[in-house]
């Protein structure tokens, strides 16, 4: 291992507190730190204002405080082609995409990684809450210490090659401590609000945003028995298990989204949070990545998450011949959603994950979930 001062680390800086502190910690450890801001989306409004301007300005202020060089790089085209196109395609299919997983896979840890390497970097660092451990010949990705912030769910597509070149300086710290460090050093971003939601939509209205790209096709909301309960604004605006925005009144309820029929443009709704139709006992997933570098050939048990910030559930994973996997849940799960990621863990180690395609119950596909 080279001396830190001869080790160049490119830090992906978003203008938020996490990546600011990541850069600070690396600088304190003596690395040759270079801050780079990625511009992935052009949100310039009619007045010529774009939020990226403010974020980059924060990157500049923090980098000047840390006395490290800063640059920007534009990946708008790659983001559009690899992430946004996928995002729209999934909605068109009636599924619920996870653009963050795709962005990490295609942009941050691919296009951006390549860019960092072309600058002579030894490592790429980000402010993600995850840890990388070098164990003999292999690299292991571990959950972040702060279990509330652990982001391995979004990083499930990282390969061994990528893991060998990444640093996550915040993986072993609590978020609250990150804020404290930022305040102790009076970083320009110390009190900046965390960004929420999908990065390219930001604080804007999701429905309005999506309607600019996909034509909304209103249709019927029906029970599984075919009783019309009202109108929906377009299937893409709804996700499984959702309660808000259905507007179904009358006795009974509350009502939840339990499925979609894209062909007939029907949104299925059912009564009760624990509506039986929302529960499943297995799934099939594709686009598998094994972050461990070991592709399983035998059935094994582990834990899994079907969405971000969910508690782990016990599962049995069986590799299928085409590289996909079948996952059987120890207990029935509510609102497992096609298009989202299923991510596997062995204790603290993130094994990898894939994209949920089919949902099963009693050995049969649930065709109504979309």
């Amino acid at each position: 291992m080279k001396d830190p001062k001869d080790t160049r680390v490119v830090v992906g800086m978003s203008g938020g507190v996490d990546s600011s502190v990541a850069a600070l910690l690396l600088k304190e450890q003596g690395y040759d730190v270079v801050g780079i801001f990625m511009k992935n989306w052009d949100d310039t409004d009619e007045n010529g204002v774009c939020t990226a301007t403010e974020d980059y300005d924060d990157v500049i202020r923090v980098c000047n405080q840390l006395d490290i060089p800063y640059y920007a790089v534009n990946f708008e085209k790659q983001y559009w082609d690899k992430v946004f196109t996928y995002f729209l395609d999934e909605y068109k299919k009636g599924r619920t995409p996870n653009p963050d997983v795709m962005c990490n896979k295609e942009i941050k840890f691919k296009a951006f990684m390549d860019h960092a390497m072309s600058l002579g970097a030894d490592y790429l660092a980000t402010g993600h809450y995850a840890q990388v451990q070098h164990n003999g010949e292999r690299y292991e990705m571990l959950r972040g210490i702060d279990e509330n912030k652990d982001q391995t769910y979004f990083l499930n597509q990282l390969s061994q090659d990528v893991l060998s070149k990444v640093m996550f300086p915040l993986g072993h710290i609590d978020k609250s401590r990150v804020r404290e460090i930022a305040k102790e050093h009076d970083l320009a971003t110390a009190t900046k609000k965390d960004s929420t939601g999908i990065c390219f939509i930001g604080e804007r209205n999701f429905k309005e945003f999506l309607s600019q790209y996909l034509p909304a096709q209103p249709g019927n909301m029906e029970t599984m028995d075919g009783e019309v309960k009202g109108k929906h604004d377009g299937l893409m605006y709804y996700t499984l298990g959702q309660r808000q925005g259905l507007g179904i009144g009358g006795p009974g309820g509350p009502w939840f989204v339990i499925g979609k029929d894209v062909k007939e443009n029907i949104l299925y709704v059912g009564e009760g949070y624990h509506n039986d139709h929302l529960y499943s006992d297995g799934l099939e997933a594709s686009e598998l990545n094994w972050a461990t570098g070991v592709v399983p050939t035998e059935t094994f048990t582990c834990t899994a998450k079907f969405r971000y910030r969910q508690k782990d559930s016990g599962v049995t994973v069986t590799p299928l011949e085409d590289g996909r996997v079948k996952v059987v849940f120890d207990e029935p799960e509510r609102a497992v959603t096609p298009g989202q990621a299923v991510v596997f863990y062995d204790g603290e180690v993130c094994l990898g994950g894939g994209t949920i395609d089919q949902i099963e119950k009693n050995g049969e596909y649930l065709t109504y979930v979309g």
């Binding site: 790089v73 390497m117 072309s118 002579g120």
Partner: protein, 381 residues
Amino acid sequence: MNTIYFDHAATTPMRKEVIEAMVPVMEETFGNPSSVHVYGRKARKILDDARRSVSSFLNANEKDIIFTSGGTEADNLALIGGAKANQHNGKHIITTSIEHHAILHAAEYLESEGFDVTYLPVTESGRISIDDFKRELREDTILVSVMYVNNETGVIQPVAEMGALLEDHQALFHTDAVQAFGTMPIDVSALNVDMLTFSGHKINGPKGVGCLYAKEGILLEARQHGGEQERKRRPGTENTAAVAGLAKAVELVEEEQRARLTQYKLYKKIFMDTLKEQDVSFEVNGDRINLPTIVNVSFPGANVETLLTNFDLSGIAASSGSACTAGSIEPSHVLSAMFGEGNERTRNSIRFSFGLQNTEDNVREGAEKVASIVKRVTKTT
């Protein structure tokens, strides 16, 4: 790290003589030039001397010199002030698609105010055509503004020819000579211009000061409202020290221009020869009629952001187009005008500009570093 500056078209280091001309003004001559006492008179004398020396260099009249805060303000005053004061004669303005944003954005503003602006195109050579200009010139054209030398490519525009064509036309003729100043002959009557802009910090003078030459008798509406300084065309207490520095920088240009040109020609030759020796594949953008101080080079297969970041990390300061407010490099409007929107060259071209920070040795060393970076990044992509 040893750094090499190839960005003199962005800004230049101040000459020692310039600083020496400014310091006594800051230390001793603090009076307000408009004051009716000895302090004011002393300060006023600084301005008078500067005005005399600058006007003599331009072959102009002292009364035609308006000191401003820089090139942008001078361009805005010329374009907007000239258009508004002459709109009773028409609303048509001609400029080019390769102007500095100080002109382009001022022109866009005038369009929003109801003026009709024609933007002359350029060919791949980076030059506008006189035929296009003749075709677009109308009876109701009130203002023509064409830069003397383009700041991204160094390509010289046919300003004197246009000046001659406009001799008997009502239109005011302005040229932005910010980039030309210091290397091109600047004689306002030979160029036949009514207005001419230049800036202090591009000629080894101070930042925050510039000048608009505006021929006596032309109508010009002030952009600011305030006192009666600069013959009511530019209100605001004069930046005496900076003006003294600007005048000194102009004097130095006058004394050294020929020697510097010879030097810069050599630098450019060394730079280009080194790239060729190192077997780098490149093409020069606009290489026909241009300044020895600027070379704009396209590196096929490379990408501007990767190049510039690598250059800086290796101590080479160069630039390309203009950075957007979010830091990423926007395709250059000048190269887009030359080669078409989306052309590869708008995404792989770098401007290197030479000046006082350079020596034959550091130009060679810089070119070698540039060559090795270009070879490395074009190999990986």
